[in-house]
Every structure is written in C-alpha cells, then in structure tokens.
Symmetry: C2
Subunit: 150 residues, 2 copies
DNA sequence: GTAGGTCTTCAAGTAACTTGAGGGTCAAGA
DNA sequence: TCTTGACCCTCAAGTTACTTGAAGACCTAC
C-alpha cells in the first residue's frame, strides 16, 4: 500500500516535500510508514488526506481549523454541521477581509492618481501625497485595531 | 522637544509600545532621544513619521517598502515618482489578491450552501462536501502556486 | 561504478510583530 | 515620607506556516 515516495505525493497534491514533513511533525498528517531504508511511503489515502488539507489551506483556513476538520472527518459521532459552522465563520472573516482589501485598492489607486495630478516629478519631501499620509488625523488615532489576517 | 513618552506616542498613532521599540530596533524609526532615566522621549516629528509608517502598513505595504518610502521622503534629490511607482506595483498586487479573495468567498459560500442542501446533520465522514474536498482533481494538481500574501 | 536525482535529519531563517520575565521610574494620594 | 499603581526598560522566546541550507544516505540509469 505505501508505495508512493514523498516527492510523488508532493507532486500529486501540489505540495512540496519539506511541507509534508512539516505537516507530519505538527501532527496534521499521521507518521508515514517507513521502508527498510527509512524513507517515507504513502498510499492513496494519504493523497486524499493531503489533497483535503491543501485545499483547505488554499481556501485560507488556518492550520488549527484544518486540524479540526480532519478530526471531524475521522469521527463518525460528530455532525458535519460542525464543519459547516467552521466554514461559515471563515466566510464571515473572508468577507470582512474582502471589504478591507477593496478599501485598500481604492486608497492605492487614489494615491497613484493624486501623485500624478498634484506633484508629478517633484522631489520626495515635497510630495503632497506623502505629506498627507504623514498627517495625523482623528480617524487614524481613533481606530481601535489595524488590519489583521484571520 | 522630545517630551512625549512611548505610551503617548503609541496612543496617538494607533501603535503599541513594543511595536515602536521593534521599529527602532530594525531601523524603521531613528533611535529615540533618552532622558536621564533612560526612558525614550518623542516629539511631533516622531508622531508624523510613525503615523506615516502605520498608515502605509495598514495599506498593506511590507516593511521594506515603507522603509523605501521614508527614505524617499527624507531625500530631496529623489523624485516622488519613485513613490508613485512603488504604489503602482502595490496596487497591482492588491488587485490580484482581491480577485483571489473573491474566488475564495464564492468557494466558501458554496461549501456552506452545499453542506446545508446535501447532508445537513449527517455524520462527519459521510459529508458529501468534505468528501468532495478530499477528492484529487486535475485542476488541483496542475495549479502552479497556492495563494500567497504579498 | 559512477553520476545525478531524490531522500534523510537537524538547525536556522523568514515577517512582523507579541508575550513574558524581572526589574527600574514616576506621579499621586495617605 | 511611604506606598501604590501605572508606566517604562531590556532581553529572550514565542507566534504562523512554512522555506532554506548543510551534511550525508539511497536509488536508478547508463
């Protein structure tokens, strides 16, 4: 059964080998079977599990959420509604981040056009836009928390 | 002039004290003036500089880009067009990230609705959606790179 | 048999801070 | 004057999710 080497598993799941070892180290993957030479061997179940993990990570789920999901998948006693709730929470976080990023896009675009309109070619310290960014405002001081990654 | 203590500077710029010390350590802020007791003292220029830095960070600029900008601001010989180009590059990265995040939002929303429609309340291992996430696909294996944060 | 590619472990590096330990400073109130 | 509590100091280690590097073992093909 465990006839795939780590490089093959990596290739089939879009991971790389050190990451697979790292996942094993933190317990996200079970310890791999070892051949006589000590090399790791994997089977189709490992491909499925790692595919799942990678897909969750690509969706932006943190490692501990992924761990919760894989645990969930292995436990017949627990409802998949738990998985849905986890996803729901993540969706909310994603939407918040999306809104932040949209604002960011607008701000950067504004910066670029302002810079072109107001002071194109001037020297750094005279740039009106840089000046403006350095000016403390009420909004800034009152802001409770900076942007965080969920 | 340097009559503000680190806590005051932190409060007025939406930062916290260890972060300010960290910025000093990595050279993003100049070494602060010290009083007799060794405590740091700041002035209005520091408020401006740190405000600028925080605003750039909130806009998602990496520390080394911010460093480039602050250097630019202090150097009369260099054009603010350099700042604009830096911002332009960042804008492109932001737009790419935005697109990724939109796809992510759709995927997560799909997960939630599918889970509710297909297997609401079933046990974890039987969940059709979790099942589906674990299924290797051509798309996944062929994908060159996962989502990265710029 | 040898060359090149892949594998092993272990350690350290990355970003951008945050947290903790252990102790010093300062202003106000009893 | 003493004490209390808020604030400050340094230094070290922790965080997340890996990546990179060193030094060596193994495996396959020519």
């Amino acid at each position: 059964m465990p006839d795939l080497r780590i490089g093959v598993l990596a290739g089939r799941t879009g991971t790389n080998a050190p990451t697979i070892r790292y996942y094993e180290e933190i317990g996200l993957l079970p310890p791999a079977a070892r051949g006589d030479s000590g090399q790791r061997g994997y089977g189709e179940e490992d491909v499925r599990r790692l595919t799942f993990i990678r897909r969750c990570r690509d969706l932006g789920l943190a490692i501990d959420k992924v761990r919760a999901l894989t645990t969930l998948m292995g436990d017949p006693a627990r409802s998949c509604l738990e998985a849905r709730d986890l996803a729901k929470a993540h969706l909310a976080a994603t939407r918040a981040k999306l809104a932040e990023l949209k604002a960011l896009e607008a701000a950067m675009a504004g910066f670029v056009t302002d810079c072109e309109a107001l002071c194109a070619g001037g020297s750094g310290p005279d740039c009106a836009v840089l000046e403006n960014l350095a000016e403390p405002s009420e909004r800034q001081a009152a802001k409770p928390k900076p942007m965080i990654q969920p």
